[in-house]
């Protein structure tokens, strides 16, 4: 009885799948999926060669600080960093006094309440504050950016495939739309208000090139402030904002693996010892 039902159910599923397969094959032949510009012209990120990549990676504090400078002078005009507090900057090598100064001199002030009147007000940032958003809310952000919303950058590196390299490639990837693309896909011409970038998923990004040869951020530590260097440094900084515990994680990982390896060695010895007289 179980078998009769089983054959019937099995044949039903197999039969329906066969019908579905014929349908899929038929439509694949009659109307093959069209080639798309994204499919042909989208590029995989280039390697940003960050010190933090790899199993033993550590942050290069000076690079991360330079990246913070780029964020402060360029990105922060539109992008928030809402999961990062000023105090966290101590982890990338700033002294307590420097962190205090950075917080106090931050252009956007922290929203607060006037203690006398109870009215909305702002005050200077302190190390305990999160880095404030450049816009009071989403509507304001969209209104200032041609209806595009500049995303929060705290987790950007983890929120994209191969995020650090993606950030670096995207920032250095702005270019004119290739003639071959326009020839093959005339309807895929970058619309007004968007910008061609082969590293962006649909090739057309709302953000104009933020780093250009004229506006590249100049550093005080002697490093040459090129667009390429700016992009690498900001990728390093955003790797830190997305995964601030990366160094502790790698260090704890090595210690854990060593500890577990010793455990395995002892367990193997105990196993050999216990079973020495038993064939198995």
């Amino acid at each position: 009885m179980v078998r009769a039902i089983s054959y019937l159910v099995g044949l039903a599923f197999v039969g329906v799948l066969a019908i579905a397969l014929i349908g899929t094959a038929y439509s694949a032949v009659t109307e093959p999926p069209p080639a798309t510009a994204e499919h042909e012209f989208h590029r995989h990120p280039r390697d940003a060669q960050l010190a933090s990549s790899g199993a033993f990676g550590k942050f290069d504090d000076r690079q991360v600080q330079r990246g913070f400078q780029v964020y402060k002078e360029v990105c922060s005009a539109c992008h928030s960093l809402k999961y990062v507090s000023f105090r966290d900057l101590g982890e990338i090598g700033y002294t307590e006094a420097e962190v205090k100064a950075i917080a106090a001199q931050w252009t956007i002030e922290q929203p607060s309440i006037n203690p006398e009147t109870g009215e909305a007000a702002t005050r200077k940032n302190t190390p305990a504050d999160r880095i404030p958003s450049p816009y009071p809310n989403e509507i304001a952000a969209r209104a200032a950016n041609n209806n595009a919303l500049p995303p929060d950058l705290s987790l950007m590196v983890k929120a994209r495939h191969d995020g650090a390299n993606y950030t670096y490639s995207l920032l250095t990837g702005y270019q004119a739309q290739p003639a071959a693309l326009l020839r093959e896909f005339p309807e895929a011409k970058t619309p007004q208000g968007l910008h061609y970038n082969p590293y962006f998923a649909n090739l057309n990004i709302a953000m104009p090139a933020p780093l250009t040869a004229q506006t590249a951020v100049q550093y005080t530590d002697g490093t040459r402030g090129t667009v390429d260097q700016n992009a690498r440094d900001v990728a390093a900084f955003l790797t830190w904002t997305a995964e601030p515990k990366l160094e502790q994680r790698h260090a704890a990982g090595l210690a854990s693996l060593a500890f577990i390896a010793i455990f395995c060695f002892l367990a193997w010895g105990a196993y050999q010892n216990v079973w020495r007289d038993v064939e198995h």
Binding site: G10, A20, A28, R249, L254
Partner: protein
């Protein structure tokens, strides 16, 4: 239960004797996982995976309870509370990565455990109840894993919840009403998130309860073994402790090594980047995919693309649930008296095909839905059902098994032919 030659618990210390009279908990442990449980002497490393699954459940409960102390199940703050765990809670990053990757490790060892059961016929009489309880645990785990993935309230959390709860809307007539009732709204929101959190906290303890039943049911016939033969006498077994506690420790070490490598060096390897974007009901991700351990089932769901009597969606949902529920009938679909695939050449060949088939389904589940992949998924889904529902009953009736050894001990001695018999005499 167990075998007549099992060692008896004999407490020596007065305190243990006193405890044994009042509450014989040490006796229970001794008989369940101590020297009082005789186990076939020939188990290979695949028999570690039951204990590893237990260890994984324990790790999930410990890390999960700790995470719950810092997590807030509210649509407005859930994502932020997870980020607070990652940044400000001491060792919070470790707890979360351990819990997220722990789910993957748990499902991984359970899949190996199930494959072991299929290969060595552990689902067959007299262990049907052990198998049935195992399938119940598997279902509970899948529900728990799904709801856990929703809790961080990222994009994949939200849209995964949208897709999975959408299954219920495939029920003819009342589907949409049932879906809205289960979600507590028209789309996943606070009500759904709170329900999922509540159930995500509850189900692991239900699972632990079923695990206890499963171990209980296992101890009546005792463990299966690579030959699939019944234990015939004391020479076929060794006490669980110290023999298999020692062997399980080796397996546990290897498990922890792999687990630690994941947590500390590639913690996001098995996750999806979109889940680091906060849930946004107005923005649908380009590709909605479940976690890797659900991909084969997702592929089956997606393979039903044609309406035939029933709508395609309903076929897909029925097939997806059916693909797991059919495991409940396995002990009666395959009635070959031989358990181990080592002695069933035809069954073994088809089992290897099934393994490849499930891997193909896994690939299709995560791949782009271009015609080639869809067709691949439809063929692989058809084989999956044909394997269990048609091929298995047929070969179990027609197959000629290879000759079986007379006993476990004989099989072991054959393997080590030439060693002195004195060494093999067991206490």
């Amino acid at each position: 239960m167990s075998f007549p030659w099992a060692k008896q618990y004999e407490p020596k210390a007065p305190l243990m004797r006193w405890l044994d009279e009042k509450l014989p908990l040490p006796r229970l442990a001794y008989n369940a996982i101590g020297a009082g449980y005789p186990v076939p002497r020939n188990l290979n490393y695949f028999w570690n995976f039951g204990v590893l699954a237990g260890a994984a459940l324990l790790i999930q409960i410990v890390t999960g309870v700790t995470l719950a102390m810092n997590y807030a199940a509210n649509g407005g703050v859930a994502f932020g509370s997870v980020e607070r765990i990652m940044r400000d809670v001491p060792a919070g990053w470790f707890l979360r990565y351990a819990h997220a990757n722990g789910a993957s490790m748990f499902l991984f060892v359970v899949y190996v455990h199930i494959a072991r059961g299929l290969y060595y016929g552990s689902y067959k009489a007299p262990r049907e109840m052990v198998w049935l309880l195992g399938v119940v645990i598997f279902l509970l785990m899948m529900a728990t894993a799904f709801m856990g993935y929703v809790l961080p309230w990222g994009q994949m959390s939200f849209w995964g919840a949208q897709v999975i709860t959408g299954f219920f809307s495939a029920i003819p007539g009342v589907g949409e009403t049932v879906r809205v009732w289960l979600l507590g709204g028209y789309a996943p929101d606070n009500a759904a998130l709170n329900r999922f959190f509540s159930l995500h906290y509850l189900l692991p303890f239900v699972t632990a309860g079923v695990v206890i039943l499963k171990i209980w049911a296992l101890h009546i016939p005792g463990s299966n073994n690579p030959t699939g033969l019944d234990v015939k006498g004391p020479q076929d077994t060794v006490p669980f402790h110290p023999y298999y506690t020692a062997k399980d420790a080796v397996g546990l070490g290897a498990f922890l090594f792999l687990f630690a490598a994941l947590i500390f060096f590639v913690p996001n390897l098995l996750g999806h980047p979109d889940n680091y974007i906060e849930a946004n009901p107005l923005s649908t991700p380009a590709h909605i995919v479940p976690e890797w351990y659900f991909l084969p089932f997702y592929a089956i769901l997606k393979s039903f693309t044609a309406d035939f009597i029933l709508p395609a969606k309903l076929w897909g949902v029925l097939a997806m649930f059916g693909s797991i529920l059919l495991l409940f009938f396995l002990p009666w679909l395959d009635n070959s008296p031989v358990r181990s695939a080592n002695y069933r050449p035809t069954y073994r060949a088809f089992l290897w095909v099934l393994l490849v088939d499930v891997l193909v389904l896994g690939y299709v589940g995560g791949a782009e839905a271009i015609p080639r992949n869809v067709i691949l998924g439809q063929i692989a889904s058809a084989y999956y059902f044909a394997h269990f529902l048609i091929i298995l009953p047929l070969i179990s009736a027609s197959e000629r098994p290879r000759p079986l050894p007379n006993s476990i001990t004989e099989a072991v001695l054959e393997k080590h032919a030439g060693t002195s018999p004195a060494k093999t005499a067991m206490a």
